[in-house]
Amino acid sequence: MLSRVALAATAAPSLKNAALLGPGVLQATRIFHTGQPSLAPLPPLPEYGGKVRLGLIPEEFFQFLYPKTGITGPYVLGTGLILYALSKEIYVITPETFSTISIVGLLVYVIKKYGASIGEFADKLNEQKIAQLEEVKQASIKQFQDAIDLEKAQQALVQKRHYLFDVQRNNIAMALEVTYRERLHRVYKEVKNRLDYHISVQDMMRRKEQEHMVNWVEKQVVRSISAQQEKETIAKCIADLKLLAKKAQVQPVL
């Protein structure tokens, strides 16, 4: 947040030159950090610490005395100081001195022998930690990259939408065609139905007329045959039949 304010502060002079000044910009011209905010990225840790000689005295001291006394200066100074302290008994030799000497000697021996390997072990632990964090970072980056690729692919799909729309249009056209033909067929059936009805009505009328006429003619004929005419007709039919029988008798003989 402060970095944003500092950025706005550096942008403020350029904005002041412009005529427009919003209230937020006026607020941001109050600069309360003179340097650039140094949040990220952090500078990496230095490889090695400051150089130290004999494990006790920093290198800067030796460099400080080098112009005046050369290389052996600080060592001579150290020896002189030690002899002075011993002779004037500023450093008193007590029984503790001997235990100190043996302990320090042992420490120096152990450090000289195993220092490097312990350093390597610690370095390996550090490296493992860093590798773990790096893995997390890489996994995160990969995740984001995959998400970006997915987004791009989906964006590319947008260009192919027209296929979908074409298929939909075709489907709709086919459906329209089908309904049109269905309705056409229905119209045809209905019309045929009506016409069939008229035809069957006509047929029925004609048949009825025919039957009625036949019945009427029969009835008239039957009525016109009186009783006497019936007797005469029957006698004539019998006489004809006798004649025919005689004829028939005669013919098979021949």
Binding site: L45, P46, G49, E89, V92, D123
Partner: protein, 88 residues
């Protein structure tokens, strides 16, 4: 003799011997200032010798040696009685 840069903002190594009293008096002796001085000193030492990738034993041993010297100075009064000779 006034130097070109005001004496207030020089580091200790650049201050000349004659200006030393004024430089010392210039320093900030409020509790906040003293605390700040201790913090600065600690962070300088820490970032130079301990907060590195391949650290040395010297980062720790210098502190221990300073402690040894300091405690020797504190107990010199009692040690004076164990001197082997009276006159040096």
């Amino acid at each position: 003799m006034a130097s070109v840069v005001p004496v207030k903002e020089k580091k200790l190594m650049d201050v000349k011997v004659g200006e030393l009293p004024s430089w010392i008096l210039m320093r900030d002796f409020t509790p906040n200032g003293i605390l700040g001085a201790f913090q600065r000193g600690y962070h300088r030492y820490y970032n130079k010798y301990i907060n590195v990738k391949k650290g040395n034993i010297s980062g720790v041993s210098m502190v221990l040696a300073a402690y040894v010297l300091f405690s020797y100075c504190l107990s010199y009064k009692e040690l004076k009685h164990e001197q082997l000779r009276k006159y040096h």
